[in-house]
């Protein structure tokens, strides 16, 4: 294979690659090798991956080729490479959640989502970088160093799933998996010009997802286009009896919706609260332009007010740390991971404390302390209890809005990718990156970010939100909008990214 055709393989969509493999125009091993080669050549600059599984990826690809040779039918994404956020357990493959406390840990089991990827013959290239335990909006909280945005290597790729979004934008993989607790799929997608979906809470199994905040976490698909995301969504979604919060209902018809590319008569609400001060003018302009396109496509666009959304961020920063403080208690050096101070002179309690002191980074410690305080006797009602009430109000705002409209739209994040280091010492400024994405996590709704334009040469994302279990609606709107924007531009937005 020539260099130019290898280069071609890494720029193709997942749909194209699957078709080529099925038709015999490329082998799965060739496809995997092309992506691995690019990672080896370029990821030194980007640092999207914490672990690249050359051997496992090539073995999985070879198995796909063997199936094809044997005449077996292949799944819709068989042989397509994927970058997996390092918060899902992978049997025998290092899994760190971006934390020193799990350095060197090789889980004994695959996450449910990983099982589904393998069953679909998707080729897992490796584990991608993220903020420690998915806490952050820039990947700067990773214990293993930050990831760089392929659009501008001095800028953040978003977070916590910056490794996955950067892997897509840098053409290391056509598909990726993220997790979204307060925007960790959507905000990285927005700032890297890629597509990221947070499915309805309970739509994708959390079994084997290393928890950040249990009631908010949701795994979801990331891709360079809407249809690829829908195909991956279909693979990973569905009921799992090992996750009690998994929804026992049919997966919404997301692929059909993504292919429909027509939104005539759909009612679209623009969230009034997500504009104004703190929003970059270029971001608002791109979003406004995209909304105009939706109108031109025949949608009925109205402004909708969701007053409680203003309280989403403070409520989130009580609920999330509370759950974090409990979920992360298991990292105690007793059964797995880092162990510090086990030299015969320290008690078990001291070893626990020393290990946690050495193994957790500052943001994780900050949230554990916040959560421990919020749950303390005497403070519970004032903090956690009040926050849960806000959560109910937000769900009511969504319900009222969805009485009027089919989907809601807003900017995904108030700004484009900010420079690495700019907000690293200012947690509150960092938290504002998730201002628009958090309400969907608190209420459990489906939501997506898709690229709609550039502001000063950096990508801008539009967020589309739908009711619980109406994930198909976001794909319908996004599919039509993406097509219209690509047609007007003459190419996909990501084509404008610098060549690495």
């Amino acid at each position: 294979m020539t260099d130019s055709s290898t280069g071609d393989l890494v720029r193709r969509t997942a749909v194209d690659l699957a078709a080529m493999i099925t038709k015999g125009e490329a082998t799965a091993v060739e496809v995997a090798q092309a992506h691995l080669d690019r990672i080896d050549a370029v990821d030194g600059r980007i640092h999207a991956f914490l672990h690249v599984d050359h051997q496992g990826a090539l073995a999985a690809a070879a198995a796909v080729d063997a199936k094809r040779s044997a005449g077996e039918s292949l799944g819709t994404l068989a042989g397509v490479p994927l970058a997996l956020k390092d918060v899902f357990t992978t049997a025998g493959i290092p899994t760190t959640a971006g934390s020193k406390i799990l350095e060197g840990w090789r889980p004994p089991y695959d996450a449910a989502l990983v099982e589904r990827l393998r069953a679909a013959d998707i080729v897992i290239l490796g584990k991608t970088n993220c903020d420690e335990f998915a806490m952050g909006s820039s990947t700067e909280n990773s214990a293993y160093g930050p990831t760089h945005n392929p659009w501008d290597e001095t800028r953040i790729p978003g977070g916590s799933g910056g490794g996955s979004s950067a892997a897509l934008a840098a053409h290391f993989a056509p598909l990726a998996i993220g997790t979204d607790t307060g925007g960790s799929i959507r905000q990285p997608a927005a700032v890297t010009g890629t597509v990221g979906v947070k499915p309805t809470y309970g739509g994708v199994s959390r079994y084997g997802l290393i928890a950040c905040a249990s009631s908010l976490d949701q795994g979801g698909p990331c891709a360079r286009n809407v249809l690829d995301a829908a195909l991956l969504h279909e693979v990973i979604a569905g009921h799992d009896p090992r996750d009690a919060t998994s929804i026992d209902q049919a997966v919404p018809a997301v692929v059909e919706a993504a292919r429909r590319r027509e939104i005539g008569g759909m009612r679209i609400g623009v969230v009034r609260e997500f504009a104004g001060e703190g929003y970059e003018p270029g971001v608002l302009a791109s979003v406004r332009a995209a909304i105009d396109v939706l109108t031109e496509l025949g949608a009925d666009v109205v402004e909708v007010s969701c007053p409680s959304f203003t309280y989403a961020l403070p409520a989130y920063y009580l609920i999330l740390p509370s759950e974090v403080s409990s979920n992360l208690a298991r990292f105690d050096a007793m059964r797995f991971g880092l162990r510090v101070g086990d030299d015969g002179t320290h008690s078990a309690e001291e070893v626990m404390a020393m290990t946690r002191g050495a193994g957790f980074g500052p943001e994780v410690k900050r949230r554990i302390i916040l959560g421990t305080y919020a749950l303390s006797s005497g403070y519970f009602d004032a903090y956690y209890g009040q926050a849960q009430k806000v959560r109910t109000l937000i769900a009511r705002d969504f319900a009222a809005a969805f009485d009027q409209v089919d989907v809601l739209v807003s900017p995904t994040t108030p700004t484009t990718a900010f420079p690495l280091g700019e907000r690293a010492d200012d947690p509150l400024a960092m938290y504002l990156a998730d201002l628009c994405t958090i309400p969907a996590n608190l209420a459990g709704n489906a939501a997506m970010s898709l690229p709609v334009g550039l502001s000063d040469g950096l990508p801008v994302g539009l967020q589309v939100m739908a009711p619980v279990l109406a994930d198909d609606r976001i794909y319908r709107v996004a599919g039509a909008l993406e097509q219209a924007l690509d047609d007007r531009r003459g190419h996909a937005l990501l084509e404008k990214a610098p060549t690495l």
């Binding site: 357990t89 889980p107 996450a111 959390r206 290393i210 009690a244 797995f336």
Partner: protein
């Protein structure tokens, strides 16, 4: 005892000045096939850390899923205790760090228990005869057990001072039901007996529901004893202590009695009782303080976000109510009639923990009177001597029934039957095997027995003469002589018949 331990005030004296209040928390391990939140088996005694998986080890990413069988069990327990069943409730996380708790939080229930507001009637002996007391049940809720720590190299067997510790996670995640009483005031000196009787009654109920092995010595039923005392007539109750590690019914009673005496001594000396956790020391028969905590533990309870709320439908609750067996108390009322027992007889059976055993022995074919006689007599004595519960003796109701049958058939007399039971308890096998092996059959050879009878008549002409004159009561002496000559291996009734045949019984 450490030098700082105050002396005990004698029990009766303590009760003359102080009024105790009792509270009991019982933890029951369910005998479900799998654990509370994963599919691991629950069998007792397996090799350490062989019944574990990512979920019960608390590995990153693992999630709990509720065991539906355990929910059925707790609902049935709640119904049997007269509780209301919550139409909607949740699990909660109880957060604290300890090496044998894999997640460093326990999934439990906090302010929304599945069952609440019941009661349990308990009968105890009083100076006025057997009386029934009603113990209020505050709640019954579901939770998961912790692993088990073995602390090596310390003096106390506890974690502080140990050289190292071994942890077995087989027990981690086994379904536990915690049953909590309301405070029980106003019982005066009967508090220790009531505590014991309550746990015994609860155990019988749980056994009849077939939800747990209820073996205190294996830890499948564990009791925490809460005791406080206050001067008689005081407006407020005293500070309570919670005594753990109470592993038998007898210890429940002793621990309560000890705490009353100990707390009385503290108050008498002008001190205050510390609200604390204490540990029962079986060997010394005392309680010792746990690690002193500078401040109260804050468990930071919050609703468990990995599990969905529990909402049993009224139909399901009624369906489960339909599966309740005849409960021990109802059974006893029925038996009083069927077996023609006095309340005192019944109380003796209850006190000995023999009701179920006698019922099973009767079911195996023995007449109730005989079944009672052996369990309350010979076997109760054996249990007493070895310091075990009657139900823990290595003898089955079926074996007792067989011994009763052998006596009824005339193959054994009472003396021989006792030897057979001794053999069963010693592990020598089934009753028939022991009869054969020990050569314990009654002398039933009519020839041999006849010769012994003739010899007795010949050797006691005076007695024989009295019998011939109609003084039948005198026959006992000759029966005794024959029994002595046959070393007890004769059927006394048959001997009597043979004597009377020969000495011309009156019509």
């Amino acid at each position: 005892m450490s030098p700082s331990t105050p002396d005990l005030v004698p029990y009766d004296e303590a009760l003359s000045r102080y009024e105790p209040v009792l509270g009991l928390e019982v933890h029951v391990e369910l005998s479900t096939a799998s654990k509370m939140f994963c599919g691991c088996p629950t069998g007792f005694g397996a090799e350490p850390n062989t019944q574990v998986c990512p979920v019960c080890l608390g590995l990153p990413g693992a999630l709990p899923v509720m065991n539906a069988e355990a929910l059925d069990a707790v609902i049935r327990i709640g119904l049997a205790l007269g509780c209301d069943i919550a139409p909607w409730c949740r699990f909660a996380r109880k957060n604290y760090f300890y090496p044998d708790m894999p997640k460093n939080f326990q999934i439990s229930q906090y302010d929304e228990p599945i069952a609440y507001g019941g009661s349990l009637d308990v009968m105890i002996d009083t100076d006025d005869g057997p009386q029934t007391f009603t113990v209020g049940i505050e709640r019954a809720h579901m939770e998961e057990d912790t692993g088990k720590s073995l602390h090596v190299g310390g003096a106390t067997g506890r974690i502080h001072g140990a050289q190292h510790s071994l942890v077995d996670y087989n027990r981690a995640g086994i379904p536990l039901i915690e049953i909590v009483t309301k405070p029980v005031p106003g019982l005066g000196k009967y508090v220790p007996e009531l505590a014991r009787a309550y746990v015994g009654e609860l155990r019988d109920i749980l056994r009849s529901l077939d939800v747990s092995d209820v073996r205190m010595e294996q830890g499948s039923l564990r009791c925490d004893v809460n005791v406080s005392i206050a001067p008689v007539g005081a407006a407020e109750w005293g500070k309570r202590t919670e005594t753990k590690n109470v592993n038998s019914l007898r210890s429940v009673e002793r621990a309560v009695r000890y705490e009353i005496g100990r707390q009385a001594a503290v108050l008498d000396a002008g001190g205050t009782v510390k609200q604390e956790t204490r540990h029962w020391q079986e060997g010394s028969g005392t309680t010792a303080p746990g690690r002193s905590k500078e401040e109260a533990e804050d468990y930071r309870y919050f609703p468990e976000p990995d599990l969905v709320p529990i909402a049993p439908t009224p139909e399901r609750v009624e369906e489960l109510r339909g599966t309740l067996p005849e409960l021990p108390r109802a059974l006893r009322v029925r038996l009083l009639g069927e077996w023609q027992l006095s309340p005192l007889d019944m109380q003796a059976l209850i006190n000995a923990g023999a009701v179920d055993l006698v019922v099973a022995t009767v079911a195996a074919g023995a007449p109730p009177a005989d079944a009672r006689k052996w369990w309350l007599g010979e076997l109760a004595r054996a249990a007493n001597e070895t310091g075990t519960e009657l139900s823990a003796l290595p003898v089955t109701p079926a074996q007792v029934a067989r011994v009763v049958e052998l006596v009824a058939d005339g193959a054994l007399n009472d003396k021989l039957a006792r030897q057979v039971l001794e053999g069963v308890l010693a592990g020598e096998g089934e009753p028939d095997e022991i009869v054969a092996a020990r050569g314990l059959a009654v002398v039933s050879d009519e020839g041999a027995l006849g010769k012994a009878v003739d010899a007795a008549i010949a050797g006691n002409p005076d007695v024989a003469g009295k019998i011939r004159d109609g003084k039948i009561a005198a026959a006992g002496a000759l029966v005794g002589a024959v029994m002595k000559a046959t070393r007890g291996q004769a059927d006394a009734a048959r001997v009597r018949d043979l004597l009377l045949e020969r000495l011309g019984p009156p019509e």
